[in-house]
Subunit: 215 residues, 2 copies
Amino acid sequence: MPFHYPNGKLYLNDAKDNPKKQPKNQEVRFDNRGMSLEEEINESNRYYLAHDIAVVYKKPLPIQIVKVDYPKRSAAVIKEAYFRKPSTTDYNGVYKGYYLDFEAKETKNKASFPLKNFHQHQIEHMRHCLRQDGICFVIIRFVSLKRLFVYPATPLIRAWDTQETVQGRKSIPLKTIETEGFEIHYALNPLIPYLSAVEQLIHYLESRKGVHYGN
Amino acid sequence: MPFHYPNGKLYLNDAKDNPKKQPKNQEVRFDNRGMSLEEEINESNRYYLAHDIAVVYKKPLPIQIVKVDYPKRSAAVIKEAYFRKPSTTDYNGVYKGYYLDFEAKETKNKASFPLKNFHQHQIEHMRHCLRQDGICFVIIRFVSLKRLFVYPATPLIRAWDTQETVQGRKSIPLKTIETEGFEIHYALNPLIPYLSAVEQLIHYLESRKGVHYGN
């Protein structure tokens, strides 16, 4: 039996009862499943965890809590709090004994990735983790190109450090990312199979162990 | 010039102006520097980071944000939020290429460490990390004994899994922790040099690689 609102309008409790909404949802899903890059990575991480492939989490936002109410018989309510600047990157975890540490960033640009997407503290954190032999990178999405890359921290930090110099640039050209990065192709399970690109990065890093420049 | 409150009481803006408070503070500092175990570990982590020894952070508390105000010309204020249950342990990071993952717990008991200090989700998280060859443990402080240990996740999980059985116990005896764990001795820099105990744990784990039971 169909239900109606007091104004007589039909109540639709399911998308399948609503022919207008359905095609639009499907269309969005075809593009990027209607999810943000963060949600897509979180979903991929849940897949990796459930299949014992890796343990990776997004870190919670750091919050400065000022005031908390403890109402009787219900959960504590934070009534005043402020966002704090994170000291690290957003994601970390463990994969086959390797420490993984990364950021996820998107751009609407088509030819390059602007460095202004990063903050100094993220670069410094990656620098520290690299010194401890962590596997550090950024997952970059070119939104309009629908292309995704794992781009290693080492060339990213090099670009960051030289951006103010004469030869420096404020962005990393797509061509450079294609050469130095590892492309990820959207899949079903997981949605963003970034670990296959990370696996290539690990092989690359292992193959260069003991190779030093300048000394 | 001394300041006074409207009621005539002297305003003391510094502990050194307040002879009553000073000795008490010093007394607390002698025991455990007046810091919680968490603060002591955070301070040790800052030392390790500053000296490029390891990169370890405590994860922020996960918060469900419901309402945020954006006042003009000042920082966003969170006006309603709730604490969420964490899915992981409190600390993780990287040390010489090893993924570290741990909890910090204290007990006032003198003879054993009660398992009720742990939650199921923390045990499950450690189980997942161990399968990825992470270095997982708990830093246990026996408050009244002033003793600290790094206790590995493997015997902890074994004790957790068998606590309901006939041979099982609801706590881990201190003697067992002395045998299977690695004692940490308070120092100056860092306050809790837990990485030397972790180093012993890593050597122990490496020495047993390839040793399997039951097959």
